[in-house]
Symmetry: C2
């Protein structure tokens, strides 16, 4: 059996998220259907994590095992032909036996795009959070720094969370000023709770608008309790950007240690 | 009666072009429905020109007359609320009596976006022509210069053209190198034949790929005969960017002359 690691980009606009569901079209379902055709057997995939309806991915990672012998180059070419245009297979690699897109993942990067513009741009409606308000970048940057390190992120957890420890480590939380009034928030960490990034963005935007002080943000976050009243930032601004795995040689060292 | 000049941007992906049809959803139909609601009377609009299915506009101009008294500021705000998110009213102005989006237009600018990338980008699928081939910008630029001035553009006319003179004047025809492998072709002229911009782009791309020489391009164009074998460049790369009208004071001078 071969184990494959696929890197997939998708426009989430027309899907009910990544993960398979019984009664709604999802990215995973489409992928499995097409991969099954190409591999000549029923393919079951694992994704690095879910993404919600309307959320996008530039670098979702998917793992699978197959007894099929299709060369990776052919798989890439064939996928370009039979996948719908809003799902693209970027990369296909042979992986070590036991590699699992979710369980083997070490860290992830999410990005969130905001455009401050007077008039809504019809071409951005599915790809960024558009707002008329002016956001103060400096204070959002300052508040974002408070997220760095290991903390209880319960405050940014939405109801409906799968049970998992609310303690996560954030390596990077940074706003980037892009062209034409666009801001991009990049956050990297070893794990994320349900709606965590979108809830963080919502609160940082409150800080940027001046409706919440950095002190209030800090104390709410430190309290470590789930907040019921906030709406997460809208899904279309969010991108699962990259999923990081432990390099082979480090994994080998870990095996030797054990 | 008031005459209004509206500037509209739209994502043409989900419409059968701009112009009203009896059995397909078009941008003009949606605009007229919503404007009729806001003006309290049946509104009939004129657009500066048609755009095909999948073609976009950043600056389509629409004119209408109304006996309604809705202030322009309110019209803008209300449209932001009731238009679908893929159609945006950028600007609303009072215009002189007799102003007509099509007949009063002096010139137009179209832009065509091409992205050269190895893997298709799912986020660009509806907004650019994506191709794996590398295009030589210098030769496309050189060929584009041949379009400048007043010529018979029959060679770039598709079948199905509305009858109009094939002689048009082109003021600008220029390729711009943008970020991340993107090229944008900008063309400005006093009029355009059916599919003219997309046919021009198709031929310039042939030149850029090296499958057609500049000399061949030049002689085909000079022959002034419609070419049956070419497919126009795909619609999603094309944007109606700007429509130019004669300024008021010049129009007044013309009236005095008459």
């Amino acid at each position: 059996m071969r184990t494959l690691k696929l890197t997939v980009a998708y426009d989430g606009t027309n899907y009910h998220g990544f993960q398979k569901q019984t009664n709604a079209l999802t990215v995973q379902q489409v992928l499995e259907e097409k991969l099954s055709l190409l591999c000549g057997e029923k393919i079951v995939t694992a994704g690095s994590g879910r993404t919600d309806t309307g959320v996008h991915a530039r670098g979702q990672v998917v793992s699978l095992t197959t007894s099929g012998s299709i060369p990776l180059e052919n798989l890439l070419k064939a996928c370009a032909g039979i996948l719908p245009k809003d799902i693209v297979l970027w990369q296909a690699e042979e992986a070590d036996e036991g590699f699992h897109a979710r369980y083997s993942a070490c860290w992830k990067r999410y990005c969130y795009r905001i455009v401050q513009n007077k008039h809504a741009d019809p071409f951005l409606r599915n790809y960024v959070w558009q707002m008329r308000e002016y956001l103060r970048l400096e204070v959002m940057q300052e508040a974002a720094q408070l997220l760095l390190g290991t903390h209880d992120f319960s405050f940014f957890r939405s109801a409906g969370s799968v049970q998992s420890s609310p303690v996560k480590t954030i390596y990077r939380a940074e706003w980037l000023q892009k062209e034409q009034g666009e801001l991009e928030f990049c956050i990297e960490g070893n794990g994320f709770l349900y709606h965590m990034v979108r809830n963080i963005v919502w609160h940082l935007v409150e800080v940027g608008k001046g409706t919440k002080s950095i002190a209030a943000f800090k104390s709410e976050f430190a309290a470590g309790k789930r907040h019921f009243k906030v709406a997460p930032a809208p899904p279309q601004g969010l991108y699962l950007d990259y999923v990081g795995y432990i390099p082979h040689f480090l994994a080998d060292i870990e095996k030797i240690r054990k």
